[in-house]
């Protein structure tokens, strides 16, 4: 359902992506790992239209989406989160979530605006959806707090559930587990597993290999802008090239 082909992107002479090619099947979770500077975040930037590729294609449901602007990619049903958070800090938690849905569901918004009673029932339904997600991650008591007042970890989780509220088909999560305490990490893992159970497809960038192993069906190791390993996470530690280029001696693994 998703594949990148020969994707190349250079920044000031640095080759961030170098003929990067791999595919993702529908209803799976794929982990992207690799050394810092391997091109992981650039890959997400290119796929979601934040950065234009120099050459190569991005296929989403058999359509080449390379070169589409970010809002068009989002409307097609691709949602992403960022390593550095991009929430509306001066809005409440619940308003951040409500906006996520309305900004992608324009036709729905127009229809509901025509009929105030439908708007209130749609909003009521959306609010309870948000409430449920906030409960699942233990943030329900922050419902009306300003997003900017949350701690880093809490903002991170809010970004993840904001992506869920947008209701996409394909999720791109940039380091969803980084900076989370063990119980929040478990909650986020459960949410992502839940997305797969609902038939969604997830691609996530992560350095926490335990998290990747527990969650992912497929792992892609990027090094210098291209995959050096594509396969089952269990096979990762045994791969000589991966050991050589990416894994540490194991002290902090």
């Amino acid at each position: 359902m998703f594949r990148v082909e020969e994707l190349t992107k250079r920044f000031n002479g640095i080759r961030a992506l170098d003929r990067c090619t791999f595919a993702v099947s529908s209803n799976t979770i794929t982990g992207i790992v690799g050394p810092n500077g391997a091109g992981k975040t650039t890959l997400f930037d290119v796929v979601t239209g934040f950065v234009a590729a120099d050459t190569g294609s991005v296929y989403f449901r058999d359509r080449n989406i390379a070169g589409l602007p970010p809002h068009a990619v989002a409307r097609l049903g691709v949602a992403r989160t960022f390593q550095l958070l991009r929430l509306y800090r001066d809005l409440s938690v619940i308003d951040n979530l409500l906006l996520a849905r309305w900004s992608v569901a324009l036709p729905l918004l127009m229809k509901t605006l025509m009929s105030p009673s439908r708007l209130s029932s749609a909003e009521y339904q959306l609010r309870s959806e948000c409430r449920l997600l906030l409960e699942q991650v233990g943030l329900i008591d922050k419902f009306s707090a300003l997003a900017g007042e949350l701690s880093y970890g809490q903002q991170k989780v809010l970004e993840i559930i904001r992506a869920m509220i947008a209701n996409p088909v394909l999720f791109l999560f940039d380091e969803p587990a980084a900076g989370l305490d063990p119980s929040m990490k478990r909650a986020v893992g459960d949410l992502i597993r839940g997305l797969k159970e609902q038939g969604r497809t997830v691609i996530l960038i992560e350095h926490d290999l335990g998290f990747v192993r527990d969650l992912c069906d497929q792992v892609v190791v990027l090094d210098q802008g291209a995959p050096i390993f594509i396969g089952n996470p269990e096979a990762l530690p045994g791969d000589p090239l991966v050991r050589d280029r990416y894994l540490s001696k194991g002290a902090y693994l």
Partner: protein, 229 residues
Amino acid sequence: MILEVSNLRVGYDSLQVLKGVTINVNAGEIVALIGPNGSGKTTLFKAVCGLLRPVTGTIRFLGRSIEETDAEAILREGLAYVPQGRRVFPSLTVDENLDLGGYLLRSAKALSNRKNEICARFPILKEKAKNLAGDLSGGQQQILGIARALMLSPRLMLLDEPSLGVDPRTLETVFETVKQLKADGVSVFIIEQNVRAVLAVADRVYLLSTGNIVAEGPPSEIEARFDSL
């Protein structure tokens, strides 16, 4: 004792974040601060380095009261802070970021000597010296943030989650650096969610939960308590 915080209360408007926290860091010690998201760890660091004013309580650095001192003067005294989320200057080069970190150094020679020492420890910074900091990967920016704080040869380093976004090998470099700092006589106070990695290097650990210190001790004792939270 290098840092003594007693009975510290800090809040934002109506929200009380720290509810009477007492901690200390001895000279040459690596102390870890761990706890759930939202427990107040970053708030404690911000209060210590002068970015937030406490409601009540005292903070002493090298025996002197600093709770009324402003952030720049605290830095001058030898307390460096590496904030969470790599706050490097994206539109400046790596080299310029390091220069800014050393802005209190008097001579150009002292600045360039210190930069050479730092780059010897983190070769990637030498390699990327002329690149814009914003073009570095997340993990490389993290290393730059730590290196920039080291420019002024601090006595105490506050590190807010240095493992965030770094790959396994860079993580090793980060924690090797923490051990090296200790060997050089620098004290380190460090917030981490990568509990296993930080407990491997810490001498002592505090566990913070909803604004209160709920446990303190050697890493072996605290690990079990954290897992049960």
